[in-house]
């Protein structure tokens, strides 16, 4: 199973993401943003975290016009799985593959901390109610929904250690504590599952997310 990982200038989580994909038994393929080869060789596509184009203007605003993006959008239209992590989520939102916008954290500061998330919808075989302990690291993770389009599925919400969705457990002011959303085969989340794949790093819950990706990739 091949998973294409899109690399923009300024992307910096691609190697971590590749390792996480290998850890669940799939083959990662790093794809530079100007690569011309077709994406048909991939079973899934991941847009990893980082600071594409230094987040100039708006995070993801310039990356969404990269040469490879029309093919990513075709890939998504064909129903195959696309996952955007952090900056990747920002790119998906900028190009309209996911609705809404990701604004500056309400604290106006970059926030890097471990959070709890609760799975809210049975997307990609994820179990509603399952709790994931994952790290966030972002300055613009405050999800703002677009009222003019159909609502996406909320996949993950920030919660406390007991699974209660509370304002205190929300690291960025995100509407309704939204940490991740999905539009069918396209999923975007702000936390970094690729950094939570071993006990020594603090959590293995990230593997659960990549296993869901593989499940979806097999089903598609």
């Amino acid at each position: 199973m091949k998973v294409g990982i899109i690399v923009f200038p300024g992307t910096n989580c691609e190697r971590d993401t590749a390792r996480a994909i290998e850890a669940v038994g799939s083959q990662p393929r790093l794809l530079w943003h100007t690569a011309t080869e077709p994406l048909s060789g991939c079973d899934a596509v991941v847009l990893p975290g980082g600071f594409a184009h230094g987040d100039a203007l708006r995070a993801g605003a310039i990356a969404r016009f990269s040469p490879i993006m029309p093919r990513v959008m075709e890939f998504a239209d064909s129903g195959r799985p696309v996952m955007g992590i952090c900056n990747g989520f920002q790119v998906l939102v900028e190009c309209g593959l996911l609705p809404g916008a990701l604004l500056r954290n309400d604290s106006l500061q970059f926030r890097a901390e471990w959070v709890h998330c609760r799975v809210e919808a049975p997307v990609w075989g994820l179990q509603p109610g399952a709790m994931l302990r994952l790290p966030v690291a972002h300055g613009m993770g405050n999800y703002f929904p677009d009222a003019s389009v159909p609502k996406p599925d909320v996949v993950l919400r920030y919660c406390d250690a007991h699974g209660r969705v509370t304002p205190q457990s929300n690291p960025n002011g995100s509407f309704d504590n939204i940490a991740g959303i999905s539009n069918g085969n396209v999923l975007g989340l702000m936390p970094h599952p690729e950094r939570a794949i071993s006990d020594v790093l603090g959590s293995v819950d990230g593997s659960y997310v990549f296993q869901a990706l593989v499940r979806e990739l097999v089903a598609a």
Binding site: P9, N12, R19, F110, A112, G139, R195
Partner: protein
């Protein structure tokens, strides 16, 4: 034809050269230098570039050890062998004066500069740390500096994708007009990929990569040593603006070029820009360089050759490339969207020749700019050493004190987990970063005092504490980098402080068997309020053979015995310090220790409280000791096997046991965890938000 104009000592002074230095230049050249040549001397003979006030003293630092692959002073950073064919490059550097003028950009470009020093060695940067000092946070300007410096460090480091895994922050009146911003970077490389900066091989080309050259930071190398708060704050054109996105592209492109063996040498551009990087590269190869400033891409119009040679525009690297490889190199750079200019070549004569569109406009022997740089032994006279200001002794007030409380307000602005290799950060006394393979890890920390007036102790204790923090994780200290921040050495007390601090660092490093592999000296940290306290800062590297055996701060089990390892009280005894650390590491390795925490500011009380806070556990402490004494060489450990600790060869004083949810220390306190959290967790926030976090830009 080289233009020669009549010069005078006054012009030399404008370039930071003393009359005696100017005379020396006349002697060496046998003629008067022209304007540009004088500026080259001004830059290369500045304190920042040639360490004239400290070079001889630094000679006493222990630099050799079997694990050292690149010694202090050889290259841009020191490098040590960490086994399995891997090596670590490490360095700490100051950016104090720019941070006083524009704290966000000063701190950001400080990070940029130290990161370039690391990847220029062929190492991928894997961790950042820092050490910050400001005036008391009751002052609006100090709060402003803190907020902007932290934002600058965070934005630059986070964008580069390098985790900031550790640091320290202290407040003291002594730093009121002179904040200290010391940035440390650590990089990982395969030993066979080690890259040097020598510009060797006559005919090889010099390629300037990255940012275009503008008037940023002009005369910054001399600016770094100017007294601030007087004219300094008006030196606005000198502000350098950083672009972490551009630096990220530089890192990836350079590492790819080095991996493919397309570069013969690589040097970063820092203070004194193109001048220092080309001259130093030539010096290391005993060769010469010829540069044509007309070939340098500019961001501003009408720049003179002098401005091009001294510009401190950020995010630029100088590469030495074989002529046959240039096209390949530029193809790689193109892919990364990076501009490059062939600006010169390596020549055989050991001089630097500057051309402007082919017309010669300066020519100076390399040795005159480097080997012949002045070296001063300023007269030293001891100063009165006052007792450092004491911390409050009321337990809750102490926990909430801005110098003791939680630093989470700072650390959560730094990405600590990027690169998915961070095994410990503020849950242990030193950060732990995994080495490839996942079993071994390096330990990293920064340490320095903020209340110590005795410069010898400031130096020795900085080394001792940094090593102790590393040892508390179970790791063995193997190398250190140091940043020596002082006032003016031209005052006898200042010279004495420099002497004594370096002697302290040297003694402690030797006693603990840790080589000094790199460092930086920042002098003239003075303002109208006088000089700063002598502030040697140490960055320590340790090696942990099995990360599964790492030791963290939090108490682990109810009913474990809490033990004080080390002499309950006393003056610094370096042999004892070494013994205590050795015993501690051995005990951790043998599984005898459940938790370990270094005892420093705030004494035993703060150490025990922090072990409780991290664990959400209480403790019943019954031993009769001075819980606010800050004697060195002591560690608070917890264990289920206290008897085993008694036969290790150092004092092991039982203090009490881990118990319940309250910290009770007989006749001192009986505090609930909630009370302690309330005081400790938001100490900084309360201080910052009391007026406005933005504080005030102007004093």
């Amino acid at each position: 034809m080289i233009e020669v104009r009549a010069q005078s000592s006054e012009l030399a002074a404008e370039y930071g050269l003393k009359p005696a230095e100017y005379d020396r230049i006349l002697d060496m050249l046998g003629r008067e230098p022209n304007d540009l040549e004088l500026a080259l001397f001004g830059a290369m003979w500045s304190e920042h570039c040639c360490y004239k006030s400290s070079r001889r003293l630094l000679g006493q630092l222990p630099k050799e050890a079997p694990q050292v692959l690149v010694k202090a002073g050889e290259e841009n950073a020191g490098v040590v062998d960490v086994g399995d064919g891997w090596a670590i490059a490490m360095k700490i550097e100051s950016h104090n004066h720019p941070s006083a003028v524009e704290p966000y950009q000063g701190a950001a470009t400080g990070v940029g500069g130290i990161v370039r020093d690391i990847f220029t060695m062929g190492a991928r940067p894997i961790a950042l740390l820092n050490s910050l000092r400001f005036g008391h946070p009751d002052e609006p300007r100090s709060r402003y500096l803190l907020a902007r410096v932290v934002a600058g460090i965070g934005d630059y480091g986070n964008c580069l994708g390098i985790p900031t895994v550790g640091g320290e922050l202290f407040f003291d009146d002594s730093y009121r007009g002179n904040p200290l911003v010391n940035a440390m970077c650590v990089g990982l490389l395969r030993q066979d990929k080690l890259t040097r900066s020598a510009a060797s091989g006559t005919g090889n080309l010099l390629l300037l990569i990255g940012n275009s050259t503008g008037r940023d930071g002009l005369h910054g190398a001399t600016f770094a040593s100017a007294n601030l708060e007087g004219e300094g704050l008006d030196k606005r054109p000198s502000v350098q603006v950083g672009s972490p996105f551009l630096e990220k592209l530089l890192i990836e492109a350079c590492l790819e070029l080095l991996d493919r063996h397309l570069l013969l040498g690589l040097q970063d551009l820092g203070a004194a820009g193109l001048t220092s990087s080309s001259v130093e590269a030539a010096n290391r190869a005993s060769s010469g360089v010829e540069l044509d400033v007309a070939k340098v891409s500019r961001s501003e119009a009408d720049m003179t050759p002098l401005e091009v040679m001294l510009s401190e525009s950020q995010e630029r690297m100088l590469a030495v490339v074989a002529p046959a490889s240039v096209d390949l190199v530029r193809a790689v750079l193109d892919r990364w969207g990076l501009r490059s200019d062939v600006i010169g070549r390596v020549i055989e004569e050991p001089l630097v020749r500057v051309l402007d569109g082919g017309r010669a406009c300066a020519e100076v022997p390399i040795a005159a700019l480097t080997e012949a740089a002045p070296s001063y032994d300023w007269p030293a006279a001891p100063a009165i050493v006052r007792d450092g200001k004491a911390l409050p002794r009321d337990p809750l007030t102490l926990l909430a004190d801005p110098n003791i409380c939680s630093r989470r307000w700072v650390s959560r602005q730094y990405d600590q987990t990027i690169q998915a290799a961070t095994a410990a950060t503020d849950d242990a006394d030193a950060a732990l970063v995994l080495l490839p393979g996942g079993k071994r890890a390096i330990a990293l920390c920064t340490d320095g005092n903020f209340r110590q007036d005795d410069p010898y102790l400031a130096g020795a204790l900085a080394v001792a504490e940094a090593a102790r923090n590393v040892s508390c994780t179970g790791a063995t200290p193997i190398a250190l980098t140091n940043c020596l921040n002082f006032g003016s050495p031209e005052r006898p007390e200042g010279a004495w402080q420099l002497h004594e601090a370096i002697r302290g660092v040297a003694d402690a490093a030797r006693a603990l068997g840790v080589p000094v592999i790199s460092g930086n000296v920042s002098l003239y940290n003075e303002s109208d309020g006088g000089p700063i306290r002598p502030t040697p800062i140490v960055g320590m590297l340790g090696l942990l053979d099995d990360v599964a055996k790492r030791c963290t701060i939090a108490f682990k089990h109810e009913a474990d015995t809490i033990v004080l390892l080390g002499p309950p009280s006393g003056r610094l005894d370096l042999a004892m310090e070494a013994r205590v650390q050795g015993v501690l590491r051995e005990a951790i390795h043998r599984g005898l220790i459940a938790s370990a925490h270094d005892c420093s500011d705030g004494g035993l009380f703060v150490a025990i409280a922090e072990c409780c806070l991290q664990a959400s556990r209480g403790a019943a402490i019954t031993a009769a000791l001075d819980y606010f004494d800050e004697s060195p060489s002591r560690v608070v450990v917890s264990t289920s096997n206290p008897e085993a600790l008694r036969s290790l060869g150092v004092a092991a004083t039982p203090l009490g046991i881990v118990a319940g949810q309250t910290l009770s220390i007989a006749s001192i306190c009986d505090l609930s965890l909630d009370q302690m959290h309330a005081a400790y967790d938001s100490g900084l926030e309360r201080t910052l938000i009391r007026n406005s976090e933005l504080g005030a830009r102007n004093p």
